[in-house]
Amino acid sequence: MATPATIHAHAPQGFIRKYIFSLDHKVIGMQYFFLALTAVFVGMFLSLLMRIHMVWPAAVLPLVGEIKPETYLSLLTMHGTIMVFFVLTTAPQGGFGNYFLPIQIGAPDMAFPVLNMLSFWTTFVAFVVIIAAFFVTGGAPLHGWTGYPPLSAVQSAGPGEGLGADLWITSIAIFCIASLMGALNFITTTLDLRAKGMSLMRMPLTVWSWFITAILGLLAFGVLLSAGILLLMDRNLGTSFYVPLIVVNGQVLGHKGGSPLLWQHLFWFFGHPEVYIAILPGMGVTSQILSTFSRKPIFGYKAMVYAMLSIGLFGFMVWGHHMFMSGMSPYSAFAFSILTMCIGVPSAIKTFNWLGTMHKGRIRFQTPMLYAIGFVSLFVSGGLSGPFLAQPVLDIQLHDTYFVVGHFHLIMGVAAIFGIFAATYYWFPKMFGRMMNETLGRIHFFITLAGTYAIFMPMHYLGMAGQTRRYSQFTEVAYQAKLIPLQTFITYAAIITISAQLIFVINLFWSMFKGPKASDNPWQSTTLEWTTATPPPHDNFGGVTPVVNHGPYEYAVPGAPRDYVMQTDPVSASAH
């Protein structure tokens, strides 16, 4: 059993041990980061194809050729799945969490480094398996990222529902196992490896967010795994968990008596916590950055912690709000509706605390800060449509329209992406030892922010006007066709926004090699990762054991020599 200690003494030398099968949480964090980066480009490319096809259906596109309606559904499924699992679950937690959680609590590594390596490589295998779905006969599945049966449970239901769908489910199952291993490691590390003085209420909010995310993952992914096993059995062993008596292309299949709703319950019991798995780390890093760049303590630290805990708790009780259309009893719909709106309370607490943190701060508008503010903005814009959707009567109208697409992209998709961007710009100097370019960063920010609103705001109007989701084109239905001009506008906005991401890529890789050298603490932050060298040595603190004397956000401390007190500064630094 390789414990942190047995590996810290000598950093491994060979290329393979050092960069491929590394046990160092920092290397593993980077591996996750680059995996997610690859995935986000695949996902973005797919969305581009969808947008172009939707408004110019006749166009023949590169790589995919002619897009049939079922091809569109494959693109849609793979886009959603890759984005949710391999980007939003992978980068914030696996990437930044892995890299910075041990350092921020003053530990030399994760609790179980071998397991950590295994979780990355298992995630990698899951990614390879899902990408393979593109290349098998019939192509990728059509059932959307939510995989509703019977479409997903019947091999003959469509071109991608054969081997492609099996690969899709297998990939998700592998991903579940990888995430469970990761979550186990995060929780044990947080509870057991904290440095002296790092009490729970001195942990940076980033650590809290990774910790709570890991708990959610630990409880949610097992349920998705079980749902996936049942689905595989229905598909391949002839069972009838989900599939009722069904006729496909005039043929009666062997199934009978199953319930598609059973899948919906299991899936969304995982699915709603999953959206918090995607967004909580973004909340953590936003809190960290807003405090640092406003040069003020975070407003209501404890309230922030309890808000995240209650969001996590309530997150397990609201899955039914995805199923108002399923014919559920109005009484349960009512209960789910009330519980859903309850989540608005801790969310609002967080928002007000973020604003309170910035209020009267000496704000430094550098790129990480811009992205953190952008996160708050998107969280509010996307969040406001939540209480509408939580009304069963309204949701019956809005479900499966573009209103929902707009809602979840703002709050979960792009807000989480903004969290990732904020984290990248903020921690890049620590990870790579160089600064990213500010000017490019700002240009990238403003185009992305404006582009995001241009893409997703109009979708709310489309949805209210009745534009249905998951349609490959709208030319055939008269009332829908009238909305095509707005869709065209969205497509132009998407093309511009996606192209602008090249600025980020150029900035990232250029700065990695050519950026100006970063000091150990370029943002004058207080948490432990800024006390160590840049980039951190193999055991994080070069043989020194950090001792923590302060809370994580002591900025603008009256009487202190500097305007901030680092967590490891001697007690006297703020003794006034």
Binding site: G197, L218, S240, F241, L245, L266
Partner: protein, 222 residues
């Protein structure tokens, strides 16, 4: 208090007690999702059991749950084997705990604690564990002889699913045990083996409990 580690680095890493605690904490985090998995399968069972199905012939709703004639004598024997293996692994756990505690004393030159006689508890546990799996395989065969296959009816699907899911997890425990035994061949320090055996033993007890739950559930929630 958890954490608050006091200078655990620099002197060759965390101590043995600390590593044991950490491994046990990891084990709790492993058990949680397994519990979630079985809760989820249980609720799927209950939901599926209660579903009405429209029957065109009688023009009414019927239940298609079916039934399974469990080979319960065989399953009871398997249960006995598994419980026995819990006893043997507990013996192994205590054995290693004592060895680990005495290791520093033994390493003093000239000190001998006399010859101790150990039964190879780990090996016995592995054999019993494999015996249980074989027994479950026989139970599956017996089910098929009685005409119950995976897709015969919803109840039989769940019987295979729940027993299979339990067997997979138990097989994981066997692999862990074999690995723990291998550490002695790899000349790892006795502490490492002690930790591996300790967490596997607790996992094994959990598997025993889980099996009793699965068995009772399948028998009584038909």
């Amino acid at each position: 208090m958890a954490g608050g580690g006091d200078g655990r680095r620099g002197d060759g890493g965390p101590g043995y007690g600390e590593r044991l605690r950490r491994a046990r904490l990891g084990l709790i985090c492993l058990i949680a999702p397994i519990v979630m998995l079985f809760i989820s399968l249980t609720s799927a069972y209950i939901v599926r059991q209660g579903l009405p199905m429209f029957d065109g012939a009688s023009n009414s709703y019927v239940r298609d749950w079916g039934g399974v004639n469990l080979p319960w004598v065989l399953l009871a024997i398997n249960t006995g084997v598994l419980l026995l293996s819990s006893v043997t692994i507990e013996a192994a756990r205590r054995d290693y705990a004592r060895q680990a505690a005495l290791a520093p004393v033994k390493s003093i030159p000239g000190v001998s604690l006399g010859e101790e006689n150990h039964l190879p508890w780990l090996g016995i546990t592995v054999i019993l564990g494999i015996g249980f799996l074989v027994g479950q395989g026989l139970a599956w065969r017996e089910l098929q002889n009685r005409g119950f296959f995976v897709s015969t009816n919803p109840n039989s699907s769940f019987v295979y699913l729940l027993t299979g899911a339990h067997a997979v997890h138990l097989a994981g425990g066997i692999i862990a045990l074999v690995w723990a035994a291998a550490t002695s061949l790899l000349r790892k320090p006795v502490e490492a083996r002690r930790i591996a055996v300790d967490v596997t033993a607790w996992y094994w007890h959990f598997m025993g409990l889980l099996w009793i739950y699965v068995f009772a559930f399948l028998e009584f929630a038909r």
